[in-house]
């Protein structure tokens, strides 16, 4: 009996599908730390993690897997997540990139799904464009804390958006707007630099994980491509966003199908590269030569 046997309701081959799929997690902050943990429990077998940050004291209130020990060691967030995933599923293959996600493009291109945990609009926009170019469904999580009027406290609100081929993109759904790009620097708004949002991150991350599982297993089908789930943290309600429900355009105008693929691709360069590497010395020979030189 496998530790994933109770997931049989997800449909035929679902355990195998989850084990074979590669999920990219971009930005390993509060939101995606929940996602990494849950996907490891769900049995996802391959991960590509990209984040340039190291844990600091201010992350300890929301980073799942974060500990004082890691803070003292200034451990990279991707390394913390890798250890957490392997502690849950030792068979998982976890590739980590402690650098900006744009520098890990080759690894991310291989992913079947990418889940974004970026806290800046420009980054979300660029990642959505990247995913559209390589036909990768992209799940974006966003959370914000707004100060209400005097005496009314704060509003915790967020959203999870699935942008995939055939669905509206983040621009169509109003997540990325020129105004939002201009206002980029505000980040967490009224709540300051270290908001206590671990529970609301968890809600959004669980919704994102649900979308990942739904996309890989034959468990259930959504009525149409894409998703936009809106979360009101104060009233603890999640609903489909009105904007998504009313979206009736035949296709997204920002990312036409004709634009998929790498525009600078040239097979002639690839073939030449292949020929050159075919004559390169074997890796074990390189190792012996290096050892002798030492």
């Amino acid at each position: 009996m496998s530790w994933l046997d109770s997931q049989s309701f997800l449909g035929a081959n679902s355990e195998q599908r989850l084990a074979e799929m590669t999920v990219g997690l971009v930005g390993l902050g509060g939101g995606n730390s929940h996602v990494a943990q849950q996907l490891a429990h769900a049995g996802v077998g391959h991960f590509v993690l990209a984040d340039a940050d190291h844990i600091s004291l201010t992350n300890l209130n929301r980073l799942i897997g974060g500990t004082w020990w890691y803070v003292l060691k200034r451990t990279a967030k991707v390394a913390i997540m890798k250890r957490m995933i392997l502690a849950i599923n030792p068979k998982a293959l976890v590739e980590i990139h402690c650098k900006q996600w744009q520098l890990a493009g080759d690894a991310l291109k291989r992913c079947e799904v990418i889940v974004g945990g970026l806290d800046n609009v420009r980054g979300k926009d660029e990642l959505d464009a990247f995913c559209r170019r390589f036909l990768i469904p992209y799940i974006d999580q966003g959370m914000d804390v707004h100060k209400l009027g005097a005496g009314h406290g704060h509003l915790v609100a967020g959203q999870v958006v699935l942008s995939e081929p055939g669905s509206p993109c983040l621009r169509c759904m109003g997540i990325v707007t020129d105004a939002a790009l201009a206002e980029e620097s505000r980040k967490y708004g009224a709540a300051g630099g270290r908001p206590q949002v671990v529970w609301s991150n968890g809600v959004l991350a669980s919704l994102a994980v649900g979308l990942v599982v739904q996309m890989v297993t034959p468990w259930t089908r959504r009525a149409r491509p894409g998703a936009y789930l809106s979360y009101d943290g104060n009233s603890a309600l999640v609903k489909e966003a009105e904007r998504f429900r009313r979206w009736t355009a035949a296709s997204c105008s920002h990312y036409p199908h004709i634009a998929v693929g790498d525009p600078s691709f040239d097979i002639r360069k690839l073939v030449v590269g292949d020929v050159n590497t075919a004559h390169a010395p074997l890796r074990w020979m390189e190792w012996i030569i290096r050892f002798i030189r030492k």
Partner: protein
């Protein structure tokens, strides 16, 4: 080098619907897929952009094969792949279920006309694809005049995402 091909579910369904239409003189229909490409470490990824059916009037009479298309159809396909530079994949279906295979005629004619695709778009690889009702097989030429390689992995980007890797799952 491994080759994978990604196609959206809606486009694949459209291709199947089009190829299933009867033709007044040909026994089967053919079409062309245009695709973008991307290099990933030790692999090549084809990302299908669009489907171009062969127009009814571009088929020629030939009782020896299921379908013969004229130079007009080839010219239109080459034109479609010219800008933006696209991979051209000649596609037809054998119907039935399971992993389809190329017939001798498919391979022979492919060896003849695929090198011609490099004339209009030398920077992209080109090839052939055959479908069944739930699977696909493909061949890709990286250079004209060289031998082809098989497309190892087909991914239907849909709900759910379906992968056909060594015929383990149905592409559907």
């Amino acid at each position: 080098m491994k080759v994978s091909l990604k196609i959206t579910g809606s486009l694949l369904d459209m291709v199947r619907r089009d190829l299933a239409r009867p033709h007044f003189l040909a026994h089967e229909r053919v079409g062309f897929l245009t695709a973008g490409a991307a290099a990933v470490p030790d692999a090549l990824m084809l990302l299908v952009r669009a489907y171009m059916p062969v127009a009814d009037e571009d088929y020629e009479v030939d009782p020896k094969v299921g379908a013969r298309i004229g130079s007009n159809a080839m010219r239109k396909a080459a034109q479609a792949a010219y800008r933006p530079a696209s991979t051209l994949l000649h596609v037809h279906t054998h119907g039935g279920r399971g992993l389809p295979g190329f017939s001798g005629v498919d391979l022979e004619s492919g060896n003849e006309f695929v090198p011609g695709f490099f004339q209009s778009c030398p920077k992209m690889p080109h090839g052939l694809m055959v479908l069944s009702d739930n699977g696909a097989t493909g061949l890709l030429w990286l250079e004209p005049g060289k031998s082809s390689m098989s497309i190892d992995r087909f991914i239907r980007v849909d709900q759910p995402i379906v992968e056909q890797w060594s015929a383990k799952y149905e592409l559907a």
